[in-house]
Amino acid sequence: MKYHKDIFEIIFHARGGQGAKTAAEILAQAAVSEGKFVQAFPSFGPERSGAPTKTYLRVSNKAIRTKEPVIDPDAVIVLDETLLESVKVTDGLDKNEALIVNTKKSAADVSHKLNFKGKVYPVDANGISLEIVGQPRPNTVILGKIVKITEMVKLESVTSEFQKIFEAKIGKENCEKNIAAIEKAYDAV
């Protein structure tokens, strides 16, 4: 999938505390480092740990002026698969656009469950991060898959921004493990 309109738009569905905002901000920083224009903001509802949340991300080659929420996304990311039961995550997605889900299920299973004709890309972000990092960190691991599918920024830009933001906080070793997990999600089929 390539940039096909002026502004590439993403919606993240997650639960409060799962780090969707962090994920969107890392992608935003990565895009800025490539000289692109960005906008990232949460849907400003009541924020409670565990409640469903929406986070919006826009990336463009020209300045972004609009402040309206994203209603016609080019890709939708679902960080918590239990949301597939309760939230209409495919709203605004057509058959050429991508749904990326953190799940162990197959693409066919997810498509069938949602009765969705578009492209579904499952990735076991929980599994990958447990295996490599030793903790469930699906929000950053899934970045690898998002970059692979959308090609909105380069993988190196994301890992470099991750390192810049997190190395001091979590230490060099942990940071390297997280980056390895992001790279694995990028390569995962």
């Binding site: 901000e25 935003a28 800025v32 480092s33 990232a40 400003f44 002026r65 609009t66």
Partner: protein
């Protein structure tokens, strides 16, 4: 390939304000947290804790105390800033008038938010409109970049005009949105502002003065006239400082922004973050052959009546979008536009008032286009 540049960042409006403050490095910052302003003081407190800024931060027990401490610090001769939102600004109200009456150059960032009741923490302009008669200069920002730029401009303006300044961003829409930001080198910012040397201050023991003395029937009126004259003069000061800032930053800030208004038959007028969405709406409408323009309010107090009248003189239809009510009266910005038009003898305009976005209600480009096309008959864009 784009060359990495440390002056090009992606930050929220709140973080951009804190970064501008770090470069200003005020002497004193009394603070009390309130959503959606808290990220500003939280980020700034971290700069101080990490030794990146040397401001004396004073944690107080309420916004009334925050503004009281700001008045004390500023009267003592310190470069003083604070930040607030909503109920916090309402609670400061009494002291806002004292700050302006004592001609204290306090700069305050406001992350504008709805007022209770019913309880709502989201963006609108009810709080700052409630403070519009308090003698403070009020400057609205559209986006993160303007928040950064106008925080610096606002500080210099306060000291030049000897009046307090509010720099206003839309709560959440701007304060919590990550957007591109270009920043100046800290040395350039410090040089632009210069060292703050108050003409008179309380710690100048060689030249003792009284601030806020008793002024009865014989002189109170003259004090107020002087203050009012200073306020009107501040418009020119603002324009001069914004132009000077433009020279060092390459970015234009002004009294208002005219977006495609030159040949516009219909002109939309509004303030704050919705201006971005409105510019996209203007472009779409022009593609459909509608000669539309946007006039974005930047300086709201003092209000530029004459310049506004001049800017609107060729319009046939004017739509004023307010993000606040003035209960029992016309919406605040609409009132000002009506007053501006009164200065033009030939009043041939069709003018409409539309209130939008109260309590953080989303506004879509399509809705703004519907307003311009006369499809919304109500005064409320819900």
């Amino acid at each position: 390939m784009f060359k990495k540049d440390k002056t090009k960042l992606a930050l929220t409006g709140g973080a951009a304000a804190a970064l501008a403050l770090k470069q200003i490095e005020p002497d004193v910052m009394p603070v009390y947290p309130i959503t959606p302003q808290t990220p500003i003081i939280e980020t700034y407190a971290k700069f101080c804790a990490d030794g990146e800024a040397k401001t004396e931060m004073i944690e107080v027990e309420s916004e009334h105390s925050a503004m009281s401490a700001a008045v004390g610090a500023s009267a003592a001769g310190a470069r003083t800033v604070t930040a607030t939102s909503s109920q916090g600004l309402a609670l400061m109200n009494e002291i806002l008038y004292i700050a302006s009456g004592m001609r204290l150059p306090i700069m305050m960032l406001v992350s504008a938010r709805a007022l209770s009741a019913p309880l709502n923490i989201h963006g609108d302009h009810s709080d700052v409109m409630g403070a519009r008669d308090a003698g403070w200069i009020q400057i609205f920002c559209e986006n993160t970049q303007e928040v950064y730029d106008k925080t610096i401009i606002g500080m210099k303006l306060a000291e030049a005009a000897k009046l307090p300044v509010m720099v206003i961003m839309d709560g959440f829409n701007t304060s919590h949105s990550v957007e591109n930001l270009e920043v100046l080198d800290e040395k350039i910012v410090k040089k632009f502002l210069g060292e703050y040397r108050p003409e008179k201050h309380l710690l100048d023991v060689e030249n003792p003065v009284t601030f806020g003395a008793l002024a009865l029937q014989n002189v109170y009126f003259e004090f107020k006239i002087d203050q009012e004259e200073a306020m009107w003069k501040a418009a020119k000061e603002y324009a001069r400082i914004a132009e000077e800032y433009g020279k060092i930053s390459g970015r234009k800030c002004g009294i208002f922004e005219k977006y495609k208004t030159k040949d516009a038959e219909k002109i939309l007028i509004l303030a704050g973050s919705t201006a971005g969405t409105a510019k996209d709406a203007v472009d779409d409408l022009r593609k459909k052959g509608e000669k539309t323009g946007l006039l974005k309010i930047e300086l709201f107090r003092p209000f530029p009546y004459e310049k506004m009248a001049e800017a609107l003189k060729n319009a046939k239809e004017i739509i004023v979008m307010d993000r606040a009510l003035s209960s029992g009266s016309n919406a605040p910005l609409y009132s000002e536009i009506i007053s501006s038009l009164y200065q033009i003898q030939d009043t041939k305009y069709k003018i409409q008032s539309v209130v939008y976005g109260l309590g953080g209600r989303d506004v879509f480009k399509k809705q703004i286009e519907d307003v311009v096309m006369g499809k919304i008959k109500s005064n409320y864009l819900t």
